[in-house]
């Protein structure tokens, strides 16, 4: 018999004896399901964050804020600064030769969440050209707000997260009544978690004289360097320009890194525990089959085939566990959003994305755990002295 046939024959023998060892085999499956489930779930959150960042990002757009801060809310730009930015080189202009730039102000509004408790929701005041600048956003219910009035539109995700944001509802913000006149969508990017209104009416309500950021559409991706140089030429302006993609990545970077760290740390520790469980199971499996295995060896089966069959059993059970864990993670969490401030100021709705890549990572881990768990017992199986192994214990 060739090597593969031998391995197959032995594996078949052991598979048939598996029902007797059901309890011990469950240990590997359940243990690894736990590891993979937890790992995949946490990584899925990080994936969701990155996904939002990527979807919100356009490399041919730039965001300008004052230096020294990662967050728009801490930034301050004067009117003069805003004008200089909009007139800088590299900024695309529309049909009327007006720069495609939107000077914006954010306020955070504390509103009740559907899930209970309350959270911070961003109300973004935008300039006239904001929607020309962001063609991916469109109003899907109700209508666009009138920038002269206290009207606002709500992003689809925000509406799902917070209570009482239907079209027609009124909100009391800073002693004044605002009306929700529409709902907008934008391919799942960050703006969908916000509300928008006219920047001037927001400024007057909150008695702000300044802006917090300017978003511009560049002529092309490559124009960014030119744009930045043009601004740098004005050192009195303490401002910083970033590509929109970099801007979003920077915001979520800390939290994404934390999530990934936690995922691998927790997953790693659980994996160590699972390895001991696997060692236990395979040890028991090999013991239970010691007579079979010894007989095989006497009959002339290669030790390599025996070792491979032990590994195969472990990896098979492990893969089963990984599938179970991944499926559980997908069933329980996929499509849901975890609400957290993520250490920042606004409430983020982080979608949990269980994709094929994550499942692959899970299966990889499972295989490693299974292999390590099978290693010692497999060696034991082929090194046990034949004579004593043949006697029933």
């Amino acid at each position: 018999m060739g090597f593969y046939q031998q391995t197959g024959a032995i594996s078949l023998m052991s598979a048939r004896s598996l029902p007797r060892r059901l309890g011990a085999s469950c240990v590997i499956v359940v243990g690894i399901a736990g590891v993979v489930g937890v790992l995949v779930s946490i990584l899925a959150m990080a994936t969701g964050l990155i996904q939002i960042a990527n979807r919100s990002a356009h490399p041919d757009r730039a965001v300008v804020m004052s230096t020294g801060t990662d967050y728009e809310t801490l930034s301050n730009l004067s009117r003069d600064a805003v004008r200089i930015i909009a007139d800088a080189r590299g900024v695309r202009r529309d049909a009327n030769n007006r720069p495609l730039a939107s000077a914006e102000v954010l306020v955070l509004v504390h509103l009740p969440l559907r899930a209970g408790g309350s959270g911070n929701l961003t109300l973004r005041g935008v300039s006239a050209n904001a929607f020309a600048l962001r063609p991916e956003l469109h109003v899907v219910a109700g209508r666009m707000f009138n920038p002269m009035l206290r009207e606002l539109i709500v992003g689809r995700t925000a509406q799902r997260q917070f209570r009482d944001l239907q079209v027609g509802r009124r909100l009391l913000v800073r002693g004044a009544e605002w009306t929700v006149v529409g709902v907008f969508e934008g391919h799942g990017d960050q703006h969908e978690s916000e509300m928008m209104t006219g920047v001037e009416v927001l400024q007057s309500t909150f008695q702000r004289n300044a802006f917090q950021s300017v978003t511009v559409q560049l002529d092309s991706e490559a124009s960014f360097a030119d744009f930045r140089a043009s601004l740098a030429g004005n050192p009195a302006l303490a401002i910083e320009a970033l590509r929109e993609s970099d801007y979003y990545l920077r915001q979520s970077r800390a939290f994404t890194r934390l999530l990934t760290l936690v995922a691998y740390l927790v997953g790693g520790i659980m994996a160590i525990g699972a390895i001991f469980g696997a060692l236990n199971t395979m040890d028991a499996a090999v013991s239970a089959r010691s007579v079979e295995i010894a007989t095989s060896r006497v009959l002339g089966f290669e030790p390599g085939a025996i070792v491979t069959s032990v590994f195969a059993e472990a990896v098979g059970l492990a893969a089963l566990g990984a599938g179970l864990g991944g499926a559980l993670a997908w069933l329980l969490f996929s499509g849901h959003a975890i609400n957290t401030s993520g250490g920042g100021f606004t409430q983020l709705s982080v979608p949990v994305v269980v994709d094929a890549r994550l499942v692959g990572v899970g299966i990889l881990w499972a295989c490693v755990i299974g292999m390590v768990g099978a290693s010692l017992p497999a060696l034991r199986a082929i090194r046990a002295p034949l004579a004593s192994a043949l006697k029933a214990t």
């Binding site: 309890g23 011990a24 469950c26 240990v27 359940v30 243990g31 399901a33 736990g34 489930g37 937890v38 946490i42 804020m65 004052s66 230096t67 020294g68 801060t69 809310t73 801490l74 930034s75 301050n76 004067s78 306020v107 955070l108 509004v109 504390h110 408790g117 959270g119 911070n120 913000v173 800073r174 002693g175 004044a176 909150f206 702000r208 004289n209 300044a210 009195a236 303490a238 934390l258 927790v266 520790i269 659980m270 160590i272 525990g273 699972a274 001991f276 469980g277 060692l279 236990n280 199971t281 040890d283 028991a284 975890i338 609400n339 957290t340 401030s341 993520g342 250490g343 100021f345 409430q347």
Partner: protein
């Protein structure tokens, strides 16, 4: 107890199996210890809080400014002893990653409100006399090597009237907070200086800290302050210190439930492992248990034997795991968690879980041992 050798012998029947199971449990408890430690630390925020301090912020959102003029109104509310206005400057020292927080306030009032922060009276005097002065927390002073007399430049995103964002302060004192060392990371400066020098948001603060005479009247005073500014352009939200801190923690959202879910998953899978090990172990020892019964051990005694083995295994492993977690816990400081010791509560919960684990995984085999009929067992040989 004289039965210890017997119990010990039962555990080590299959050395490798016991060791692997033990290690698995140890690992699970290490994870539990660290995660639970983090969770307890989060929940414990505000545990040592002073219930005679209230915080007034904007009802719209915490970072919405309030008019500084509210100060006199708040002071006039019955039961209020002292009020301090607080504005904040967030910036960096030398490198953008060295974040510092400057609290612009009335220093005398603030230190009166925080008696647990100690500062020398002459230094406090110096701050009121020096407009650009600052009293820094001991921890941040140690971190950057600041001493009294140093002039420190801080870069912020807050624009000054001169068009720059560079602020500089003179260190006139150092405060420490022995009870809560994590609070020694602020810088206390004069509100007047900062408010005059900044370009935007003048005349505003982000919070008022209110000291009251009688903690039991906290709820009434909170309501009274909020009522005072209801229906104005800047409504307030007044909370006692514990609620305020907890509110900020709650913004982290589902972290608590996430941690619990992970711990739950870990122990559930562990249950399978220990249950399986103990069941296997008992199954292998059926003839021996039968002999014990033949010799004259009562059914109950044999059951107790099995349960004690389970309890011994689980609690020994739990203890080792928790001790290891305690050793590893200080490493969480890297993630920004300021605890250095594992809270006692974690040990208590851990041992409780160990007992639960022992019972749940030990009961089925113990029951099997109980119902074991000597005759059948011996005949099965």
């Amino acid at each position: 107890m004289k039965f210890i050798p017997l119990i010990w012998a039962g555990l080590w029947r299959k050395r490798t199996r016991t060791i692997f199971t033990l290690l698995s449990i140890v690992v699970a408890f290490i994870l539990f210890g660290v995660l639970q430690g983090v969770a307890t630390w989060l929940n414990g925020f505000g545990a040592g809080s002073h219930t005679n301090r209230l915080y007034v912020v904007s009802r719209i959102s915490e970072i919405q400014p309030l008019p500084s003029g509210y100060l006199s109104h708040i002071t006039r509310v019955a039961g209020v002893r002292q009020v301090a206005q607080v504005a904040a400057l967030v910036g960096s020292y030398q490198q953008p990653t060295n974040t510092v927080v400057v609290l612009a306030t009335d220093p005398r009032a603030l230190f009166a409100l925080y008696p647990e922060w100690r500062v020398a009276p002459q230094q406090l005097q110096a701050l009121t006399r020096t407009r650009t002065g600052v009293i820094v927390g001991a921890r941040v002073a140690r971190l950057y090597g600041w001493r009294v007399g140093d002039v420190i430049p801080i870069r912020t995103s807050v624009l000054k009237n001169d068009g720059t964002t560079n602020w500089s302060f003179q260190v006139v004192g150092i405060y420490d907070s022995p009870d809560q060392p994590s609070e020694e990371d602020r810088m206390i400066a004069n509100y007047e200086y900062i408010d005059e020098a900044r370009h935007f948001e003048r005349g505003t603060v982000f919070a008022f800290v209110v000291g009251i005479d009688d903690p039991s009247s906290a709820t009434r005073i909170c309501a009274a302050i909020d009522a005072r500014f209801a229906n104005s352009a800047d409504e307030t939200l007044t909370q006692d210190e514990k609620e305020y801190i907890q509110g900020q923690i709650r913004q982290l959202g589902d972290v608590g439930s996430l941690l619990n879910a992970i711990v739950g998953a870990v122990f559930f899978t562990l249950l399978f492992l220990t249950g399986n090990t103990l069941t296997q172990s008992v199954r292998e020892r059926i003839p021996e248990l039968a002999v014990l019964k033949a010799i004259g051990f009562a059914d109950g005694s044999v059951t107790l034997l099995v349960l004690t083995e389970a309890a011994l295994l689980c609690s020994a492993a739990a203890l080792i795991g928790l001790l290891a977690a305690a050793a590893l816990f200080p490493a969480t400081a890297a993630l920004g968690i300021a605890g250095t010791t594992l809270p006692a509560k974690v040990y208590a919960i851990g041992l409780l879980i160990a007992v639960g684990l022992a019972l749940m995984s030990g009961l089925p085999p113990a029951w099997r041992a109980h119902r074991l009929q000597v005759v059948e067992a011996l005949a099965g040989r």
